[in-house]
Symmetry: C2
Subunit: 341 residues, 2 copies
């Protein structure tokens, strides 16, 4: 089906566009009253993730309500560990919890991986198919995964953490087991993302949420090579890499076979441009907290952000996922300022 | 009293020394069996902070046990909000909690500040005096405070947080109240640190633990100017500024009237040196998780770290506080490798 609004995809491929496309990480979520109403009627977050027609419904809500230039499939990066055999719970107000974690090479060996693991996630592919049908070509659909290091971090740590010191300890004390696990996650992720593309994803974004807690040396050893494998394996659609707080790794990310590089709000676009050269498209980077400010200041800050990125090779977004208590009107000011800017 | 080992102070003043001095952030704490034994006999963390002879005892423990080149007074950055009128609890395994928080300019106006607030902290000055007496000139004694932005973050947020989005919202929606609060914290901190110097502190370190969640513009507006005021006001002893994850702010920190700049483990010393020039002394920056590795690797990584900083203008430390479950033997390997390196 031909897209009516393909601005996002043209920009991601590096084409000159009439304006920057705009969407928000976590746009399908608690900022929308429609989402909160639906979520309130369910048993939990995972029911929403695992029920294709509901995941499709919340994926489309921000396209209707906010008028963004792309939809991103409602899902969770932690479906991958679960498909590999490590079940998790989503604890209200606390976040993910893995009752069992990975502690040894034996634990790693026991995990499913690759295509057989990716087959466990049919509900995600089904959600993509329904979304594509219901979007009816209005905007492109983004598929995503976590980066292997970030997924390993949860599988070893067992929950969120300020330091992820157990996960980092695993890298320092059991590097071979870590590499084995990272490769299994990578193989699973590649199969998973190819299935997502087959189900209709028009672009793939890889989130390395915990990139910033590694040393540069660890990032080069345990994180970047596996993202590079995934980026190289996804050949039918453009790929975005967003490694949060990994300012020290932009040159390395710039050498990957990806089209778009995410930029967090700490980082000036010029810094990234210097590191990655002129080919890649940059995506970001308004501070999500900026949307708490009065509307006039949101507009001004959005204009300044657009100016910093300059004309072309830019997809407007926040520098991180939008926070749940953000005023919806300010989200709209952000989107409309980009559209009219 | 003349110091028997003044290596740390000579290095902090920028003098060429025979080897880099070495100490660890959070060296007085759970890594030591002596600390755990004492702590287990008490009602809680705050009893230890508020009882001068006990604070002095744990301050000196790592000098005896690990052989570091400096002691740092056992205390907490949150004694400042408490002295200003905002009581906090330290909740076991969860961290600090403020039952009341700052939400409005009225709340800020109601706070004590400056010398009268600093007078509330006599137990800290008493702890410094006892420590100095009992150290008996063996090594210098470091006093410290939180940076005003980090203190504001806790006072507004009310607890630790991954995003500190309430504190950042305060900056975006009530900038005048924020500046008023930052100035009151700054005035209190200056009076407090001068009292600490009078009580025997040989160097002052300012910790900006949450520097890295601000945008560069916010850092220049709400964080750096207040640290600069404090650094300029402390004129009798050297000053160290450690702004964690504020890689984008090193040039600005380099222009402050401080002697030493802390470096976290994400940041190559060359990057900081380029930003701050050749005058300042750098302190850091081994990854605290590196100390989980086998001893031979700790030694090798410490040697590589020393090499990266080069000869002179370096104080060896970790890039963050040592984690509570770090093997004590590896802490000693780190210290001894610097001493013998």
């Amino acid at each position: 089906m031909k897209l009516q609004n393909d601005l996002f995809l043209r920009a991601a491929r590096g084409e000159q566009t009439e304006r920057p496309p705009v969407w928000l990480m976590r746009q399908a979520g608690r900022i929308l009253p429609q989402y909160r109403a639906l979520r309130g009627s369910l048993s939990g977050f995972k029911e929403l993730v695992e029920t294709p027609h509901l995941a499709a419904e919340v994926t489309i809500q921000p396209v209707d309500e906010i008028g963004v230039d792309a939809a991103i499939i409602f899902s969770d990066i932690l479906v991958i560990p679960e498909a590999m055999g490590l079940v998790y719970e989503m604890v209200e107000k606390k976040g993910p919890l893995f009752p069992q974690t990975i502690q040894s090479v034996k634990d790693v060996e026991n995990l499913r991986s690759g295509a057989p693991a990716a087959e466990e996630l049919n509900y995600v592919y089904e959600a993509l198919k329904i979304t594509k049908r219901e979007l009816n070509g209005r905007v492109p659909l983004i598929g995503f995964s976590g980066a292997p290091w970030t997924i390993l971090a949860y599988m070893v740590e067992g929950s969120g953490s300020k330091t992820f010191s157990k996960a980092k300890k695993f890298l320092y004390t059991q590097p071979e087991a870590a590499h084995l696990l990272l490769q299994k996650i990578t193989d699973t992720t590649i199969a998973y993302l190819k299935n997502k593309v087959a189900a209709g994803a028009d672009l793939i974004q890889i989130f390395d949420s915990w990139a910033g807690i590694l040393t540069p040396e660890q990032y080069s050893t345990f994180a970047a090579p596996y993202i590079a494998q995934i980026a190289a394996a996804i050949d039918k659609v453009p790929v975005t890499v967003f490694a949060k707080n990994a300012w020290f790794a932009y040159a390395e990310i710039g050498r990957m076979d990806c089209n778009v590089i995410g930029v967090d709000w700490n980082t000036h676009p010029d810094f990234v441009r210097n590191a990655v050269g002129n080919e890649k498209v940059l995506q970001g980077n308004l501070d999500p907290c900026q949307l708490y400010a009065p509307a006039a200041e949101v507009e001004k800050a959005t204009e300044e952000m657009l100016k910093k990125f300059g004309k072309g090779k830019h997809i407007a977004n926040l520098g991180h996922g939008v926070y749940p208590d953000t005023p919806l009107d300010n989200v709209k000011v952000f989107v409309n300022t980009v559209k009219n800017g």
